[in-house]
Structure formats: C-alpha cells, structure tokens
C-alpha cells in the first residue's frame, strides 16, 4: 500500500474511527440489526473499524489471509446481513476521504490521492463479496443436498408391496429423482404393487400430475403396478377441474384402502383372527 496514504490514515486513525462509528450507528435503526444488544453492536463496530484501518498496511497477498476475513466469516455465520458489511465499507471510504482531505492541506484536489483510497477500499470490497457469496453458495448447495436426501424413500410394507410417501412441492428436478428412487426400489424390493401416497403434496397442478403419471407409466414398464393414494377432496377437485386424465391408473382416497387393494391384486387379504 502507498506509504503516504498509510501514514495519513494511521495518523488520523482516531478521527476516522469516530466519524465512522457515528455514521454506522445511524444505520442500525433502519435495519434488522435491532435485536442485537447495544454492547455487542458497539464492540463489533469497533473491531470492524480497527481491522479496516490496519488493512492499510498490508499487501494484497497478506489481505487474503487477514483477520478481516475471519472477522467477516464470523459475522456471516451468526447471520449479520451483507448490508452491514457493504454499508460499513462505504462509510469507511467516506470517512477516510473526508477526514484526510480536511486535515491535510497538501492533499487537496489531489486526484491521485483519492484514487489510492478507492483502490484500497475496492480491493477489500471485492475480497469480502467473494468471501460472502462463496459462503452463501455453499449454504444453498448444502440445502439442496438436504432436500435431495429428503426425497422420497420407497418403503416395503408387505412382501411385494411398497409405499412411496411424497412430501412437499414437486419440481422437475425432484420428480426425476423420485422416479429413479421409485424404479430402483421396485427392482430392489421386487415390488409388484407400489402405492404412491400424495397426502403430503400441497398442490397438484398439471405439471405435478404429469410427473406422477410418467412415474406410474415407468413403474408399469419395469413390471409393477402403481396405485395413487391419499387423494384429498380439494386435490380431486383440482385434478378434475384442470381436465387431467388419471383414468388409466387406479386411485384410492387413503393409504389404508390402497393397501387393501394392493393385497387383493397380489391375491392376499387381511383376516381377523377368531378367538
């Protein structure tokens, strides 16, 4: 970092800090940071600005492993908004420019000087945004994986009869996974009848119905039968109102009725024992 700037920033460290703290405390009111205690907010602010000021002494390489990174990582993990960091940096730039141009006479109108400050702060912004978006992408990825694992297990309930309970919204990506799980499961458990339970599916529109129809056709191709169960009244209404033809495969209102019908298809029935 340019040594002139370095000296100036360090020299006016106190003023910059004060000015920044004043600005950042205004920012708190229009933000969700309100449920953080005053003490905590002040401490974090102080730590933030001190670390920022110290970065003026560092090269870009050093920055990449700076305590600033650890500090921001910690903020992200405990859920502080990205706003806080970007606003903090903006205010920090303003504070630096203002204080220094007021106090240092020979720096007036010196474009070179402003540019140096810009470069310094921009590098930090880039670094932090990369850091933040990386961590955000990571979170999204983990949630995707979690959702994948949540997707539709095939549960064998009797010999040759399995149930697949579907829960939550079904999009194309999930539908593909469900189909693969379903077919692999049918082979693995040698199921002759599969009950697809849609009790937990909030909305059945044409697309969801299309996926379910495709799944049941695929099940038929590998050599088993599909029964659609868990059809609630409102689902029955939407299905008919949308003009979706489910006539080709059997449906039952409840899982219980589905299982009875599956047993019948495999030439079995439930009998009560006589005392």
């Amino acid at each position: 970092m340019n040594s002139v700037i370095k000296d100036m920033v360090l020299e006016h460290k106190e003023d910059i800090t004060d000015s920044w703290l004043k600005e950042i405390s205004k920012f708190r009111s229009d933000d969700m940071l309100q449920n953080i205690s005053d003490k905590m907010y002040e401490n974090t602010n102080l730590e933030f600005v001190n670390i920022l000021i110290l970065t003026v002494q560092k090269t870009n390489e050093e920055l990449e492993h700076d305590e600033l990174i650890q500090f921001v990582e910690k903020l992200i993990q405990i859920g502080w908004p990205l706003n806080y960091i970007t606003r903090g940096l903006q205010e920090f730039r303003k504070a630096c420019v203002e204080i220094i141009s007021n106090r240092e006479e020979n720096s007036h109108n010196n474009l070179e000087f402003f540019k140096k400050i810009e470069d310094w702060i921009d590098d930090i912004v880039n670094l932090l945004v990369t850091q933040y978006s990386g961590s955000w992408e990571n979170t999204v990825f983990l949630q995707k994986m979690a959702l994948k694992e949540l997707s539709a297990p095939l549960i064998p309930v009797f010999e040759n009869i399995s149930v697949m309970p579907l829960i939550g919204t079904i999009d194309t990506e999930r539908a593909k996974l469900i189909m693969e799980n379903l077919l692999e499961g049918v082979i693995e458990h040698r199921s002759q009848v599969v009950l697809i339970d849609i009790t937990g599916v909030p909305v059945v529109d044409t697309m969801v119905a299309h996926h379910i129809i495709q799944a049941s056709e695929a099940v038929r191709l590998v050599g088993a039968k599909c029964i659609l169960v868990g059809i609630r009244p409102e689902i029955a209404q939407t299905i008919v109102n949308l003009g979706i033809d489910l006539g080709k495969f059997p449906t039952k209102s409840t899982l219980k009725k589905g299982i009875e019908s599956a047993l019948e298809l495999t030439q079995r029935e439930i009998v009560e024992l006589k005392k």
């Binding site: 189909m179 693969e180 077919l183 692999e184 049918v186 082979i187 040698r190 199921s191 002759q192 495709q214 056709e217 695929a218 099940v219 038929r220 191709l221 590998v222 050599g223 088993a224």
Partner: protein
C-alpha cells in the same frame, strides 16, 4: 446374430443377452412368430434384463412382436425392463400401452398364467 428361443411346455422363453442392432431385432421378430407357429405356443416371455437401451425403433419392433403374437393367439409378457430404460422410454413418449410387463422371468410366467386364465 440370432437370439435363442427356448420352449417350455406351452410357452416360449426368450432372454435377450446381446445389444440389439436393427437386423438382429427384425430377425428376432421373424423367429418368434415362426416358433409360435411351429410349436403352437400360447404364451411368450421376453426378458430384457440385460438390455441397456431401447430406442424408438427397437420399441416399435417389440410392440409389433406383441401385437403380431396376439394375432397368432399367443400372449406376450415383457420382463426385466431396467429403470434407466423405462425412464428413457417415458421421456421419449413411448408408453408401450397394451404390453403386459413383469419384474422378472418368474413373475412373468405367473403373469402369463393369469392372463391365460382370464
């Protein structure tokens, strides 16, 4: 290349173990019909466990074999269609609507018995 066709009582058992090229598929269609005629078979099980791809041409040949055999009085059951193959067929919009299926050879024979009792 020819696909071997085994006879078991009233039934024909066929396990397709080779990659189906067009010529083999057509030859197979001819052989099955010829064999049904020769043996007076009432049922045919075609096992596709080892087939890892069915495109629209082969699907058409298989569908035709089923229809043609029905005309000659023999029911056909397809068995062992792999999940990946089933998904591909569905993606292509090929449903093989009226073709009876079963998980494997054993269940295929059961299925035939049921179909013939009706």
């Amino acid at each position: 290349m020819r696909i071997p066709i085994l006879k078991l009582h009233d039934y024909l058992l066929i396990s397709v173990q080779v990659e189906l090229d067009d010529q083999t598929a057509l030859q197979f269609q001819e052989d099955v019909l010829e064999k049904i005629h020769e043996e007076g078979s009432r049922g045919v099980v075609i096992d596709l466990t080892s087939v890892d791809m069915i495109d629209s041409f082969i699907a058409k040949v298989l569908g035709d074999v089923v229809d043609m055999s029905n005309l000659m009085g023999a029911r056909v059951v397809l068995t062992g269609i792999q999940p990946a193959v089933a998904i591909t067929l569905i993606d292509m919009g090929i449903v093989l609507d009226d073709v009876p299926t079963a998980l494997d050879l054993e269940q295929g024979l059961d299925r035939l018995q049921l179909e013939l009792e009706d």
